[in-house]
């Protein structure tokens, strides 16, 4: 089945130690998104890729970076995790709206713990 896969599902890191979360998709969608979701809150968009074009949200801290080496893979790098970065990180994909896509397909998320 076509899907959005996130690895690892659970990640523990130490304060200030860089961490990378990965996302892959078999849907061949050209748009990929990274969201941060804290407990009992709605997902908050960090950035998205439209094909290779990177689009950062204005309030996304510089501590968060992303890479998309190809259509299928996208990475979230947290350069110096702080305690406040502990959250669920969700990857999502969608087709271009010109191709009729509006729905975003979400992966299962990676829960990040910062010690």
């Amino acid at each position: 089945d076509a899907m959005v896969i996130q690895n690892p599902r659970y990640q523990v890191t130490q304060f200030g130690k860089p961490v990378t979360l990965s996302c892959s998709q078999t849907l061949n969608h050209n748009v990929m998104y990274w969201y941060q979701q804290k407990s009992s809150q709605a997902p908050k968009l960090l950035f998205h890729y439209y094909d290779k074009d990177f689009n950062n949200e204005a309030d996304t801290p510089d501590n968060f970076q992303s890479r998309r080496p190809n259509t299928s893979f996208c990475f979230l790098d947290i350069r110096s995790p702080g305690l406040g970065d502990a959250a669920m990180y969700l990857c999502a994909t969608s087709r271009d709206w010109l191709a009729g896509g509006v729905e975003q397909f979400f992966g299962p998320g990676t829960r990040l713990t910062v010690l």
Partner: protein, 113 residues
């Protein structure tokens, strides 16, 4: 807009009853609206969407109503089942290159057996 509270509104219903979850959206220029269901420890799952030129859309056991005059969206679930227990988010979007979504605050649905 995005929820900033620490406590989600909760709707508690009896199994078999109908559920109505409400959402107020912010942007009158939004082109479409989506309801997502999120179970504990999982990513949001698409339920149903509605375009801004519609006021009602039905799916399997679910109906979404859109009232653009008061910027209100509702999700009706018929014959609610224990498997419907989850957090439900509404999201609004504008047709553009990035298909950007703005999520509203969620509602926790608890189904009592």
């Amino acid at each position: 807009g995005e929820s900033v509270g620490l406590h989600l509104p909760t709707l508690s219903v009896q199994e078999g009853d109908n559920s109505i979850i409400n959402c107020a959206y912010s942007n009158s220029a939004s082109d479409y609206f989506i309801w997502y269901k999120q179970e504990s420890g999982k990513g949001p799952q698409f339920i149903i969407d509605i375009r801004s030129n519609m006021d009602k859309r039905q799916g399997q056991r679910v109906t979404v109503l859109l009232n653009k005059t008061v910027k209100h969206l509702s999700l009706q679930i018929a014959a609610t089942q224990p498997g419907d227990s989850a957090v439900y988010f509404c999201a609004e979007g504008i047709n553009n290159a990035g298909n950007m979504l703005t999520f509203g605050g969620g509602t926790r649905l608890m189904v009592k057996p």
